[in-house]
């Protein structure tokens, strides 16, 4: 039997593998003089401020999107709706409505998440057909604009929809870092990268669990990358070191 694929491989120049960014960012943290390093499980009772290293391509993040679950029940009468074609038509209409859509932006081709990172997204997880019901289930990626009413409105024009139930699982996390913490991290990015950029992290992470608002996330390498190279490491160390220095916690 073959060995399972390792989570990460390490050469002098690069971490590679599905956990490459985790290892790379941990290496960055170990290089710093952080007061306390929390890995893999943070002590959530510890006092902040928190600097959370995540693969953010050099962006700063104060927003992590949330998740929810949605179930949409379709009209179904087992005596008259027994043809599969009828059920398929209704399900297809539902799935078409659930696909990402925007009046101005090409969200269907947006593989990089330039637009979709900020949109409520529905991912179908199951179609359940019983003797007296057809229900479509979705995982939902939520934004600050997501609400029960917004989701219900999305399906109100489909005649066959009889019930919509939405449940938030993990809420949107919006940090409220103090001016001192925000400035320390922004100034570090100005110094190292010549500019500041903010972007949302498109799913909940450990950042979402840290209580209180005195936290901010940043880091190098792309979220979808399977490599963490020397440049990502060097720049990451510079950003963290400068941020800590600006916070006055670096000797």
């Amino acid at each position: 039997m073959d060995d399972p694929e390792p989570a990460v491989e390490h050469t002098e120049e690069v971490y590679s593998g599905k956990s490459a960014t985790d290892f790379g960012l941990l290496a960055v943290a170990l290089e710093s003089d952080a007061v306390a390093l929390h890995y893999p499980n943070p002590d959530l009772t510890a006092a902040g401020p928190w600097l959370v290293l995540e693969p953010l391509s050099g962006y700063i993040s104060t927003i992590h999107t949330g998740t929810g679950r949605l179930s949409v029940a379709l009209a179904y009468d087992r005596l008259s709706d027994h043809h599969l074609e009828t059920i398929a038509e209704r399900v297809n209409a539902l799935l078409a409505t659930a696909r990402p859509n925007h009046d101005q932006y090409p969200v269907a081709e947006d593989a990089q998440g330039v637009f979709r990172t900020g949109m409520t997204e529905l991912t179908p997880t199951a179609i359940t057909i019983t003797e007296d019901s057809v229900t479509a289930s979705f995982d939902v990626s939520t934004t600050p604009a997501t609400s029960d009413a917004v989701i219900a409105t999305a399906f109100e024009d489909i005649d066959s929809v009889v019930n919509v139930e939405y449940q938030s699982v993990i809420g949107i996390e919006r940090a409220a870092p103090s001016e001192h913490l925000r400035s320390a991290v922004e100034d570090a990015h100005h110094h190292v990268l010549d500019d500041v950029g903010y972007e949302w992290f498109p799913r909940p992470t450990v950042f979402s669990l840290i209580p209180g608002g005195e936290k901010i996330a940043f880091g190098t390498a792309a979220r979808t990358a399977d490599e963490f190279d020397a440049e990502a490491y060097t720049t990451g160390v510079e950003l963290l070191t400068a941020s800590l220095s600006n916070l006055g916690e670096h000797e």
Binding site: V107, V114, P144, D195
Partner: protein
């Protein structure tokens, strides 16, 4: 200088007349020193940050307005826009984003500017370069060259397989048909065709080289692609940094 007699509104912005030369966006002078980002878009930073300024500045430059106070007026979020996500994250408002949501160089603003009285003050100076300045990267190249006093800017631009040439005086009257065709053309990042993208790029060039860069008389030859504001802002910066800019009395 040329300003407007009365305030006008366009998409996402309101523009008011001012008494002194220069254009400000949300209170920050639209100058090379204020540009903090120039790649897929142009942002300027001072007391606050304004995003995608090239759409409003392009319309102003095409309409020959050299002095104005531009303020963002949008009040609703659209988180599909990366700039709105930035603002929400950094506790700014949607009014900091002055770019057009459909990627157009603000045709409503251009139309409003075309219908308002323009107040011109003489004498004035006009800027050009003392010798050609070039900049290139993996995606394209640009050269700005001297031109005679009062000639305006001649643009010869290629984007992919499409080309476009036109004359613009950023401190004077311009062809209304040209203004309409440029301001109704979509940004290359959303544009359905290279033909439309190259026409749109004229607004970006006017914004970055004429309004932000401060040039009035030039011959501009550009082969654009990728994040081309790196080139359009970059060449104006290169001219300034190499001390090749000259102001002449009009």
């Amino acid at each position: 200088m040329r300003t407007i007699a009365n305030p006008v509104a366009g998409t996402e912005v309101r523009v008011k007349p001012v008494e002194d030369p220069g254009i400000t966006v949300n209170g920050v002078p639209a100058t090379l020193d204020a540009v903090s980002k120039a790649d897929v878009r142009v942002d300027i930073v001072g007391e606050t940050r304004s995003f995608v300024v090239e759409h409003a500045l392009g319309a102003l430059g095409l309409c020959g307005i050299t002095a104005a106070d531009v303020t963002g007026i949008r009040s609703e979020w659209d988180f599909a826009r990366p700039e709105h996500r930035f603002c929400y994250s950094a506790e700014m408002g949607p009014r900091n984003v002055v770019g057009h949501p459909e990627g157009l160089p603000n045709p409503a603003l251009a139309e409003a500017l075309g219908n308002v009285e323009v107040l011109a003050t003489e004498p004035t100076t006009r800027a050009t370069v003392t010798e050609p300045v070039s900049l290139s990267n993996d995606h394209g190249s640009i050269t700005i060259a001297p031109r005679e006093l009062g000639a305006g800017i001649r643009f010869s631009v290629r984007y992919g397989d499409s080309t476009f040439e036109c004359e613009v005086d950023p401190a004077g009257e311009n062809d209304p048909d040209l203004i309409e065709s440029v301001t109704t053309s979509t940004t290359p990042y959303l544009s359905p065709s290279e033909e439309e993208a190259v026409v749109h790029s004229i607004a970006d060039l006017v914004s970055d080289i004429a309004v932000i860069g401060g040039f009035d008389d030039l011959a501009v030859d550009a082969d654009l692609g990728g994040e081309y504001h790196t080139l359009t802002v970059g060449v104006a910066r290169a001219a300034r940094d190499r001390d090749l800019t000259v102001e002449r009395q009009a």
